[in-house]
């Protein structure tokens, strides 16, 4: 062992463990942010008493009586209100409690921690709400490709022969399919009215990695004694696949899926950056970056690009940390 290795080795496993925990914590934070976006950043408060009425969670229920109000106006009219941590909604234009009237985009300050865009929409609120689109696209697409890839991969590995040959060629074809350019071409023909086509499209095109891993694992598992033991007990193929093969093939597949989430989020950002993505006014991180292009140099609104960019980079890093930790866990067992 060289002196350098001696220095490095003792803390390496621990550091790895720490990185995995950090990744899991960040992922947890992201999911909580996405799920609770309406409670973290909203134009309406968490609770308010106005006109002799108490409204609980108007941020979620959005009562029609408060249609024209926001936390800025309610501060004047309400008896009391319990605000959200970020008192702005993602689509609330020229949102200000201090009544400023100068031209947006506004630079980060005490009121708008990450600044606003040219319509005076709070960047932090849009980031928080954008996490929903980005994460659901990432996880949704991977969920679909996980189902498709597992099914095809396990069948190919289990039945081998002609089934394997056909499915493997299909996998190779799908592997060479240029997903990104496919979406660009598709956007030339039709307009996406929701994120659903993106999710389904990415899910149906990004499964080959998973199918290959699932096939390799199945090839290994089908020779193991416990599969033989299950056949000895009279279990059918379907039962063996579902109870014995799929659960044991999952670990490496899940690692790939974790990295796949990062890839799908990046692809959504890249597509949105080119203006092909989740339709406005839904906030997604890619869409924020797309909007930032025009104001980046003049008037120098750096905050429009930097913070969404950090969010994307951080999320991708998080998924990679989680994937690495899973991989580590699996190679140890």
């Amino acid at each position: 062992m060289t002196p350098a290795e001696e220095l490095v080795l003792p803390w390496r496993p621990a550091a790895k463990k720490g990185r995995g925990r950090l990744g899991l914590a960040c992922l947890g934070g992201l999911v909580v942010t996405a799920l609770g976006a309406d409670l973290l950043a909203s134009d309406l408060p968490l609770a308010v008493r106005v006109d002799a009425h108490t409204y609980l969670l108007p941020a979620l229920t959005r009562p029609p009586q408060l249609r024209l109000s926001n936390q800025g106006t309610l501060a004047q009219t309400a008896e009391w209100q319990l605000g959200t941590p970020i008192p702005f909604g993602p689509n609330q234009t020229f949102a200000t409690a201090t009544g400023r009237t100068d031209a947006a985009p506004w630079a980060p300050d005490r009121e708008h921690l990450l600044g606003t865009d040219e319509l005076g929409r709070d960047v932090l609120a849009r980031l928080i709400h954008g996490s929903r689109a980005s994460l659901s696209i990432g996880f949704g697409a991977v969920l679909i490709s996980l189902l498709v890839g597992l099914l095809l991969g396990v069948l190919a590995g289990w039945y081998r022969g002609l089934v394997d040959a056909c499915l493997s060629r299909l996998t190779e074809m799908a592997f060479t399919f240029p997903t990104f350019f496919f979406f660009i071409a598709l956007a030339g023909v039709l307009r996406f009215t929701s994120a659903l086509p993106l999710v389904i499209g990415m899910g149906l095109l990004r499964w080959p990695d998973i199918a290959r891993l699932a096939r390799a694992e199945t090839l290994k598992l089908r020779e193991l004694d416990f599969v033989l033991a299950a056949r000895v007990l009279g279990a059918s193929d379907a039962r063996i696949l579902w109870r014995h093969v799929v659960p044991n093939a999952l670990p490496p597949v899940l690692v790939a899926a974790t990295f796949g989430v990062a890839g799908a989020i990046l692809m959504e950002c890249a597509l949105a950056f080119l203006g092909i993505g989740v339709p406005a006014p839904t906030a997604s991180w890619g869409e924020l970056l797309f909007q930032a292009q025009r104001y980046l140099v003049h008037p120098g609104a750096w905050w429009l690009a930097v913070f969404p960019g950090l969010a994307v980079a951080g999320t991708v890093l998080t998924m990679n940390l989680v994937g690495e930790a899973l991989q580590d866990l699996q190679s140890r067992s």
């Binding site: 007990l233 009279g234 109870r243």
Partner: protein, 316 residues
């Protein structure tokens, strides 16, 4: 008494043409155990897998295998699925790999019950606990919820036996069930198996390379060499007066308390490679008693239970 399992002139060729089982005939009776012994690679396990119809796809089997008169080799796949687990079952050498690491022991024991008796999960789980305690596991309720890695080797083998016997099959094939276990645990597992044989009238086909296991747990023995059964008969007879030189050599190679301090007698030479075709007696190249005629054909000497294949048997 008619045999529970009757195997006649069974041949098995693996994909690629290697004949690993050659004209093998034996019978297993209810309440009795047959030990199938031989060196590694002599076709013991292949013979058992052929009986279970579990040889790899593309393997060719010939001959006849009858379970209570029902032919297994010609039965349709669906019927075989029905029979496996409910009529005939099998346990393996390595209890560590024969259990699925991601399922609890209890749910794996319940597997056969849900497949064959269509028990509801809760009923199957309760039955699994009973089965576990019937194979001598204390604390069965706790152990049923444990995962395989949380159990010791002996306990895993007990759990596998419980799984194999869940649907009360009439024939149990045990492929080297004690090889991977400690000596003391070996004895426990063997007495469990012989106990089950006696109490339930189970027919037991015990595959092993350990002659000690045979004498401890078997009523009959069949000695396999290079795919053929060279000698078979009741254990006491075969062990006291072996006729085939291979059996005699195996018995001589055993360590014993009397011959302490002396080197063990080893059998020179190697088992012929898998699938090699050798005319006449396969043991001839290693046999000190070989005659010219041994190179030409194999004799079948003896009737019924006591048989051997030798021109120049030991003791003549």
């Amino acid at each position: 008494m008619s045999a529970l399992l009757e195997v006649e002139r069974l041949c098995a060729e693996l994909p690629g043409g290697a004949r690993v089982v050659d004209e093998v005939s034996f019978s297993v009776f209810a309440g009795r155990s047959l030990g199938l012994v031989g060196e590694s690679g002599c076709g013991k396990t292949s013979a058992a897998l052929a009986v279970m119809r579990l040889l790899p796809d593309g393997a060719v089997t010939r001959g006849s295998v009858k379970l209570s008169g029902e032919s297994l080799l010609e039965a349709p796949e669906a019927r075989i699925d029905e029979l496996r687990g409910s009529q005939l079952s099998m346990i393996f050498q390595e209890p560590a790999t024969a259990l699925n690491p991601v399922l609890t022991v209890g749910s794996q024991i319940a597997e056969g019950l849900t497949v064959h008796q269509r028990l509801k999960p809760r009923a199957a789980a309760a039955r699994a606990v009973e089965l576990l305690s019937s194979v001598g596991i204390a604390d069965a309720e706790v152990k049923a919820r444990a995962y395989p890695h949380q159990l010791s080797g002996g306990m895993r083998q007990r759990a596998l036996i419980a799984a194999a016997l869940a649907c009360a099959p009439r024939l149990l094939i045990a492929d080297e069930p004690t090889t991977a276990l400690d000596v003391t645990v070996q004895a426990q597992i063997l007495s469990l198996l012989t106990g089950l044989k006696r109490e339930r009238g189970l027919g037991l086909l015990l595959i092993t390379h350990d002659l000690g296991v045979v004498s401890a747990a078997c009523d009959d023995v069949a000695v396999m060499y290079a795919g053929r059964i060279v000698e078979q008969g009741p254990v006491a007879e075969v062990f006291s007066s072996p006729r085939h030189p291979y059996t005699a050599a195996l018995l001589k190679a055993r360590p014993s308390l009397q011959s302490r301090g002396h080197p063990l007698e080893a059998l020179l030479g190697q088992v012929p490679p898998l699938g090699s075709r050798l005319e006449g007696c396969r043991f001839r190249p290693r046999c000190s008693r070989a005659l010219e005629v041994c190179a030409v054909k194999v004799p079948h000497v003896g009737e019924g239970a006591r048989r051997y294949e030798c021109h120049h048997p030991v003791g003549t």
